[in-house]
Amino acid sequence: MKSCNEMNYSIAIYGGPYSDQASLSALHFARALLKREHRIQRVFFYHDGVYNSSALVTPPQDEINVPTQWQTLASEHGIELVVCIAAAVRRGLLDEKEAKRYSKSSYNLAEGYTLSGLGQLIDASINCDKLITFGA
């Protein structure tokens, strides 16, 4: 049962992984949420935020890999990582199914991320206690 203090959060991210601090700020915020025993239902990636979902992101070894950190956090805490399909496809982020649909020879969506519609962001705003946005 949910205690009266524990809340259900979702997070929206609009900025790319290295060009913008949004995704990194959101990651720190998410860790603080979990430490205070809140639940994070969903992280929704929109606008340039979709670039966080690339399996091919390869930062220098001494720098944080933001997309990988999201994967780890998500799998440990049952968080959905949802990427806006319309924003993703036009920016070149495809899963296997979309790659096939558009006859592309490869795909690059990282494991743990799901392409889905903008409805998932609206749904989060309706069904979660709080939706916090990290802009770009």
Binding site: Y46, H47, A86, A87, R90, G117, L118, G119, L121, I122, D123, S125, I126, L131, T133, G135
Partner: protein
């Protein structure tokens, strides 16, 4: 009282912000949420008439804006101060919208459960 407030603060052409903000409004409406739109800052430029985005091979958001009534989105506000700072008057605008003062704008933000800022 409507549930979603979507604020447009970016100019309309050249980036995907305006389109992505409208997409969210339409999807919200499709999910049965009453959506209110507020144009402020450089977002007021989105309301200008006679935009010809094809001049730079873009699509613009005019067609989507015209579709708003079909989605029952009829609460469209524009920040009075943002207009006047940019030398714009309501007769230059392409869309029916209510020009609002700071006090009404603050009330608008306060009265919505969820505000999306673009």
């Amino acid at each position: 009282m409507s549930e979603l407030l979507i604020i447009f603060r970016k100019p309309p052409i050249g980036t995907s912000w305006a389109r992505e903000a409208i997409d969210l409004a339409l999807v919200g409406a499709a999910f049965g949420q009453q959506a209110t739109l507020l144009f402020m800052g450089d977002g007021v430029y989105q309301l200008l008439s006679n935009q010809q985005p094809d001049q730079v091979e873009q699509k613009g958001t005019q067609a989507m804006m015209k579709a708003l009534p079909m989605y029952d989105i009829d609460q469209v506000f524009v920040c009075e101060k943002s207009l006047s700072e940019r030398g714009l008057r309501a007769n230059l605008l392409d869309f029916e919208c209510q020009s609002i003062s700071q006090a009404s704008l603050q009330k608008l933000l306060n009265s919505h459960r969820q505000v999306f800022n673009f």
